[in-house]
Amino acid sequence: AQTVTQSQPEMSVQEAETVTLSCTYDTSESDYYLFWYKQPPSRQMILVIRQEAYKQQNATENRFSVNFQKAAKSFSLKISDSQLGDAAMYFCAYRSAKIGANSKLTFGKGITLSVRP
């Protein structure tokens, strides 16, 4: 079974600074997807960024980028130029790419990010 670990329960960052959220995972599969979801106090889960395991290039979405280390099974999220609206709970998630596999999205425990003005 796959597991996703987010070992830091909380982090804080100064507005306009850069912060990195850590995530590690364990799997025996070679083909899978990794995600970072954001859940602000409004409670809607919003996709921040997605990484396909077969792609070596790290995904980037505006101020958000990932450092995907497949051999180390590490998938960290970097937020540049942090904004007050980035304050939220962030979940790292894994999903198998195997056709017909259990379509379960495995979440980490989440990390609460606060942004100081």
Binding site: Q44, A97, I99, A101, S103, K104, L105, T112
Partner: protein
């Protein structure tokens, strides 16, 4: 339309009541999900529907009864709930797993949730 709409946003019910949560999407997604989320915890999968058929039931108690009447709608019928069932219930949808397309596959779109309180 790129949204998943959930109603009601808030629901308070007694342990003997019968109520339903509703979820709707018009993105052509053929997989729909129910998740339960407690405060400061990750969502827990309850049910998955694929092409309007129940494909995953994560051993959820029978007081929760899902229904998928068509490809756009997903309901969760609630009956004889317990106070510990109070939580945020999230609905999500995605392309069906059997029709994975590499470039855009496997992204779940979530609704804003229904906050349930059982008295």
């Amino acid at each position: 339309d790129t949204e998943v709409t959930q109603t009601p946003k808030h629901l308070v019910m007694g342990m003997t009541n019968k109520k339903s949560l509703k979820c709707e999407q018009h993105m052509g997604h053929r997989a729909m999900y129910w998740y339960k989320q407690k405060a400061k915890k990750p969502p827990e999968l309850m049910f998955v529907y694929s092409y309007e058929k129940l494909s995953i039931n994560e051993s959820v108690p029978s007081r929760f009864s899902p229904e998928c009447p068509n490809s756009s709608l997903l309901n969760l019928h609630l009956h004889a709930l317990q106070p510990e069932d109070s939580a945020l219930y999230l609905c999500a949808s995605s392309q069906a797993y059997s029709r994975v397309i590499r470039s855009g596959a496997n992204v779940l779109t979530f609704g804003a949730g229904s906050r349930l309180t059982v008295l």
